[in-house]
């Protein structure tokens, strides 16, 4: 395709044409409204856009409601302000110092705070912010107390002063653009789908070998760095630093910008920032009621566009102007690691309260074996899978894989050792395309392009190529099961654990799935499949075990196990006569 052709294709996709128009409008704006007031509003918009793009890492991508972004912003402002006034440093030093200060705080509080969930995390970050505010107000000798510090210098780079108005506005948007590019680069790569999976389906993320704590920490730290950078720009623009930069209204603004613009859309953050900085100005003539009108506009926006303005734009586009189907990326070959690793389970026990779900299981799965696990509901099959995959911790016994003991290891580490799994109840990100859902499992992948290539190869093998760009939530159960299987396969596991993969599939789909599994097994992949459907299992399994009451009651070739009277009694239903009648 020619360069122009590529550009046309880009324009036709998503809401890109609209974004380009918006960006041009934004760039042209000061030419029409070039007075210092408009330039200042645009400068402030750029500053808040930068802080909001940063906030999207932790709030949008990692899905954690942090209330500390205003604190990182304020801390950056204080660091830059103090260094400018007291040490006379220029922007080339105050700017990185502000980022470092915010980053340092993030590192310090990460340990106690990041392991908290949902609203506990929100309140803990709020508490951190309050403590920082308290310090700023009361440590008068350094921070100037509630009066703050006046006389912060204008932005000066290596002795060159950047005047307010045009130069400052361009610098701020230059840095905001740089920040946007960095964020785009980061989340447009493998981090994007991984974040989505971690946010929406944390269990599945861990099973795909994603280290959630590390990813959360990365997001939190990135947020802090962006917040600190924006704070430095703010203090050199306003030229005074006082505790107001640490107070809650800034946090509320950033939250509102992100929610109104769109939680993960960079264009949304910019749109939201421009809008929220200008909104109160438009209502100025209402005098003391202008903030009330601002609140009303905020409320109206979230009611009308609950997924953010960018979300609303995308939905409108999909509704009124459906995109032509995109061509699929070229498939890339997969690497399947045919290792000689053996899974060895010894005297494994797991109980819930008084119930022994797994009650002393000894089981060895040799390399290249295709094992079917059967048993009645509640016989311990799923628990066994969860124990192997690390989603549950055993109460006694051991699991060895390859050369090491894996019981008690976190699920992500087990996945990294080459064990992949699927779930009985599907754990996909409904709003994300099949392609990205599958790519999220590519834990070794370095960039999204190659992950997409591998995903396309798998989707072709599994008959999903036609739906690659559709969101998973829109697919029938059979296709979603296969998408989850593809996600488990993309990292090229040595051992694949499947928990009722045939549930909800039609007869035809079952046959095709069994053929796929059979082929994978021939290629050297070890399988352990929990399933009710014996016919399905016998199509590829070389060995069956039957569980009852958390113990293995039969183990052998499929024929042998199927005809075992104990198995018939325990699983196929007792008394057998009725089963025959039925």
């Amino acid at each position: 395709m020619t360069r122009i052709g590529q550009f046309r294709a880009w324009l036709g996709r998503d809401v890109n044409a609209l974004l380009l128009a918006g960006a041009l409008l934004l760039a042209a704006w000061p030419f029409f409204q070039g007075d210092p007031y408009s330039l200042r509003l645009l400068t402030l918009s750029g500053i808040y856009a930068l802080a909001a793009i940063g906030y999207q890492f932790v709030f949008g991508h990692a899905g954690a409601l942090s209330l500390a972004q205003g604190t990182f912003f304020g801390l950056g402002a204080y660091a830059a302000g103090i260094l400018s006034v007291k040490a006379g440093l220029g922007f080339e030093l105050t700017f990185p110092a502000a980022m470092a200060a915010a980053g340092l705080l993030a590192v310090i509080v990460a340990l106690p705070v990041l392991r908290l969930e949902s609203h506990y995390f929100a309140l803990a970050t709020l508490g951190v912010g309050q403590v920082v505010l308290l310090v700023a107000v009361n440590w008068e000798s350094v921070t100037g107390g509630a009066n703050g510090i006046a006389g912060v210098a204008k932005v000066s780079l290596f002795g060159l002063t950047v005047e307010r108005g045009w130069p400052l506005m361009l610098l701020v948007w230059g840095l905001a653009g740089l920040g946007a590019w960095g964020a785009r680069h980061f989340t447009g790569g493998m981090a994007g789908p991984k974040f989505a999976l971690m946010r929406e389906q944390p269990m599945a993320a861990e099973a795909c070998g994603i280290d959630i704590r590390r990813l959360r920490f990365t997001a939190f730290l990135m947020s802090a760095l962006y917040g600190g950078a924006a704070g430095a720009l703010q203090v050199h623009t306003v030229r005074v630093v006082s505790p107001e930069v640490l107070e809650f209204p800034i946090m509320v603004s950033l939250l509102a910008i992100t929610v109104i613009g769109g939680r993960t859309s960079i264009a949304g953050a910019i749109l939201g920032a421009v809008l929220l900085v200008h909104l109160p100005e438009w209502f100025r003539p209402l005098e003391k009621y202008y903030l009330m009108s601002y609140g009303a506009a905020l409320l109206a926006t979230i009611l009308v566009a609950p997924w953010g303005l960018m979300g609303a734009l995308r939905m409108a586009r999909q509704r009124w102007l459906p995109e032509p189907a995109l061509p699929l990326p070229a498939p890339l070959p997969l690497s399947i690691s045919a290792t000689q690793d053996t899974l060895e389970i010894q005297r494994l026990v797991r109980h819930f309260g008084g119930v022994r779900a797994v009650d002393g299981i000894d089981l060895t799965v040799a390399s290249g074996e295709a094992l079917g696990i059967v048993g009645a509901n509640g016989s311990g099959k799923s628990t066994l899978i969860n124990l192997i995959a690390g989603a549950e911790k055993p109460d006694a016994g051991s699991i060895h894989w390859a050369d090491g003991r894996i019981d008690g290891m976190p699920p992500a580490a087990i996945a990294q050792a080459g064990i992949a799994r699927t779930f009985q109840s599907l754990k996909l990100v409904d709003a994300m395309s099949v392609l990205d859902n599958v790519s999220a499992g590519d834990r070794m992948g370095v960039d999204r392009r190659s992950a997409h290539g591998k995903a396309v190869e798998l989707l072709g093998q599994l008959g999903l190529a036609d739906v690659a760009w559709l969101p998973c939530g829109s697919l029938p159960p059979g296709l979603r099961r296969r998408a989850e299987l593809a996600r488990a396969l993309i990292a090229g596991p040595s051992l694949l654990l499947l928990d009722e993969p045939a549930a909800g599939l039609t007869g035809e789909e079952r046959v095709s799935l069994a053929d796929t599994l059979s082929r994978l097994n021939r290629d050297g992949m070890t399988l352990a499949v929990v399933e009710h459907d014996l016919d399905f299992l016998t199509r590829f399994a070389s060995r069956l075990v039957c569980l009852d009451g958390g113990r293995i009651i039969a183990d052998g070739s499929p024929e042998l196990v199927r005809d075992d009277p104990a198995v018939i009694a325990a699983w196929l239903g007792s008394p057998p006569v009725e089963a025959c009648d039925g």
């Binding site: 609203h119 506990y120 309140l123 803990a124 309050q130 609140g295």
Partner: protein
Amino acid sequence: MELLQLVINGIALGAGYALVALGFVLVLNATSAVNFAQGDLVVAGGFMGVALAGLAPLPGIALLPFAMILMAAVGLIVSVLAYWPLRDRPPVSVFISTIALGIIIQNGLNGIFGAEPRVAPAMFGTGRFEFGGLALSHQSLAIMLVAALLIGGVHLLLGRTQLGRMLRATAQDSDIAAALGIPVGAMVALTFALAAALAGAAGLLLANQFFVTPADGGNFIVKAYIAVVIGGWGRIGGALAGAMLVALFETVVAAWFDYAVATGLLYAALLVILFVRPEGLFGEAAGRRA
């Protein structure tokens, strides 16, 4: 003796906070969403008392039912505006919508009443009881009594009535409740009304002793939030205990340390509690739904 006096003061203040936290946790249970306007509703209740006293110069106890009924109506509006359209969205949407609503309430009150502190009428009158060197103002006693009555009333409502059972079923699992034929929407609206009425009562009670200005809401919501987290997310008894703990920090701990240090200690304690017991001091009731 002095300690005892401070504890008494703390309990009176904590009784007020407890009403705020109770409303917060009721909405939380029914909707999994944080109503961040709860603090501004307290302030609105205070100004409701000021306005009602301007119309009819009666003691606070006579105005209380009217203030609560009017605030319940405000609560219905809150649920219709800020919760109902967002019920199928992530809870954080409601967090933002109620923040927006709080901005509207705060600045609306600032526009109507002005920024100066106002005082609401006392429940029964001014004066104080003294016994053995301890003092208890009539208003403090009134706060404790009214709060105890209201909390007891809510307890009976939830525990002993058909309506209460429906409210609790909705709070436990709205899908199952809907399947059982309970009008979930009406129950949620009613919960918002109840929460706003409690906030209004707290506002009227506290606005006599501590005055009220339009900007006070932020302080109340943060205190309620802390109380609910300390007490265990979604746990009603825990929220009440948490409110008492917060108030005792403000009275008893602040009598030994600087206010700045006492506040710092409160947040430090909060962070330690979260670190050591992430599910709150009294365990979690609402689960990880939010």
